[in-house]
């Protein structure tokens, strides 16, 4: 039987939705034979992004608030697109903070999630269209 090449999911504006992510990434990992390390990275990146949208992206609770996830695989990479109708948020314009032990005393604890997202993905593209944020992320498959 041919492998499924595409996974699609939707998340509501509810932080409890994050609990589903682990199962989703696990199912993807099983179907596409993704190693544990990459599953961990995908899970972390998606959790950071989706929780950020839920906590800060929606101006008010509304049944129309939606976050969509589409994942595709090709021979080299997994490409995941998140789309949401929250406020505009371009992660590429956000400052990341790698925390250095040398600067611990001055360290701010924000920006760590952004650092993970930018460093665990190989490519990020952002687009805003018709009131939706579209964020496309690529994760390279090991040869």
């Amino acid at each position: 039987m041919e492998k499924e090449k595409k996974f699609s999911y939707s998340f509501n504006d509810d932080i409890n939705e994050i609990a589903r992510l682990e199962d989703i990434v696990h199912a993807m990992g099983k179907e596409w034979a993704i190693d544990e390390k990459l599953q961990f990275s995908i899970n972390l990146v998606l959790e950071e992004l989706i929780s950020n949208i839920i906590f800060y992206g929606f101006k008010r609770k509304d049944s129309n608030n939606i976050i969509n996830l589409v994942a595709l695989i090709n021979k080299d990479e997994i490409v995941i697109t998140l789309s949401d109708n929250a406020i505009k948020f371009n992660i590429l314009e956000q400052e990341e903070k790698a925390i250095s032990s040398k600067s611990v005393d001055d360290m701010e604890v924000g920006g760590l999630g952004i650092h993970f997202i930018k460093n665990l993905t190989s490519f990020i593209k952002y687009n805003r269209k018709n009131g939706f944020n579209y964020l496309t992320l690529s994760f390279i498959l090991k040869p």
């Binding site: 682990e22 972390l44 950071e48 929780s51 032990s101 760590l112 999630g113 650092h115 993970f116």
Partner: protein
């Protein structure tokens, strides 16, 4: 139980298990704050069974380490799983969060 803690000699031992969700992280922060309120300044976190941590979880550990430092205290993390360890390496937190290996050996430091 994802979070267990007990007082041993001069330090607090926390055992973190599995995957901590948002509620677990709030619970963890509350437990840490409660112990700090009563003067605890040494914390050992056994994270050998912690399979996942996100930036919110790391933020709590960073914040705790910074607060403990003000009282000449500190926390140590013991026996991280591979993925958790790599995440700390990626965020350059290995030294700051005092990663150690071997719970028994680590505990000896405090007794």
């Amino acid at each position: 139980m994802k979070i267990r803690s007990k007082n041993i000699s001069s330090f607090n031992l926390f055992e973190l298990n599995g995957r901590l969700n948002q509620d677990d992280l709030i619970e963890l922060e509350n437990q840490i704050n409660e112990k700090m309120k009563y003067g605890s300044k040494y914390f050992v976190f056994d994270i050998s069974q912690l399979s996942y941590i996100n930036s919110s979880g790391l933020r709590i550990l960073i914040k705790t380490q910074k607060q403990l430092k003000l009282f000449d205290g500190y926390l140590v993390l013991v026996d991280p799983m591979k993925n958790v360890k790599e995440l700390m390496k990626l965020s350059e937190l290995e030294d700051f969060l005092r990663l150690r290996y071997g719970l028994k050996e680590t505990i000896k430091e405090f007794i």
